[in-house]
Symmetry: D2
Subunit: 110 residues, 4 copies
Amino acid sequence: MDDLLERLHSFRDRRDWAQFHTPKDLAISVIVEAGELLEVFQWQPADAPIDPSNVRKIADEAADVLIYLLLLADRVGFDLLSAASNKVDENELRFPETQTFGVAKPPKAT
Amino acid sequence: MDDLLERLHSFRDRRDWAQFHTPKDLAISVIVEAGELLEVFQWQPADAPIDPSNVRKIADEAADVLIYLLLLADRVGFDLLSAASNKVDENELRFPETQTFGVAKPPKAT
Amino acid sequence: MDDLLERLHSFRDRRDWAQFHTPKDLAISVIVEAGELLEVFQWQPADAPIDPSNVRKIADEAADVLIYLLLLADRVGFDLLSAASNKVDENELRFPETQTFGVAKPPKAT
Amino acid sequence: MDDLLERLHSFRDRRDWAQFHTPKDLAISVIVEAGELLEVFQWQPADAPIDPSNVRKIADEAADVLIYLLLLADRVGFDLLSAASNKVDENELRFPETQTFGVAKPPKAT
């Protein structure tokens, strides 16, 4: 992840693009790419096997989401992996196993 | 990232949630969380300083996006970091420095 | 639709909110609300009957999407209903019946 | 709006597409199109004048959002315009003028 961020910095700076990368614009790009990712699944049954040609497309679009997410975290000033790890800690408390086992959308404990 | 994925597997399996995690439903969750992330910036000027209390909120929502993205990559069967690294390689070709320097939204070379 | 737009203008102007309603910010609000709409269906089977309490929630979120869409069209200067009608005209040409009958995601004719 | 819905029914039925139009899949299409709409504004300053060629693009994408929104409301069984009108009623209560005048993102009264 650190290597990836370093490559993104280099890519961005050689094009003088940091000026466009406000946190708000990066958050916009995250969702625009998330829309392109979801589009691959549009009108498909949830249990449809994934066409091999689509695996590449999904990987490409998921990559774009990660790239903008990482640039956003870097710009706002937090570590994305630590944030995700903290979130898992919180979710362990919010979704107690005994109350959520096999439940698709459990209410969150607070 | 590998540690995070391992934690997510454990979290998911102790709740028997793998049954809900189709690629399509994970892609839906990616964009739902991306919407919550973007909401933090709704109606804010792009150059507004970020309120410290919002940094935590942004980190939390970005974490959710990463979590579902990682589960999706794992389910579909590709490595998310490699996919992102490949994407940077491609973008180096699609956006030549000389044609994109300082240009907000350059047309893509193909 | 004209009545609705008139009510939205009045609502907006009595709060002096037109200053925040740039086309870009309205497009952001469209997708933020579309995310809240989609969240109602998160982790649900596509063929699940809709819980009556969710019909109200869906109507509320769909209403928010329409509201921002209408404000956006008004701000940018086009008629939303005419645009949709034109789109149906175009789609008749892009998706010829004989080639798209019963096909979930047909390639678009151009 | 009624005319538009009638045209959408005819378009859909001549292609036998009602089978794909689950509420969940329609909600997915709403956000996929909302992403294409937002993409037009990606990396643009909020106060940038809109290029005339982009007005057509914005109208086209907004039209797609409306089309899926209308099909969703029809499928779930509520009237989209009434839902929007009810929402304005609610917002009048949730956002009292005196507390929200000129405030970009007021807390909601409950």
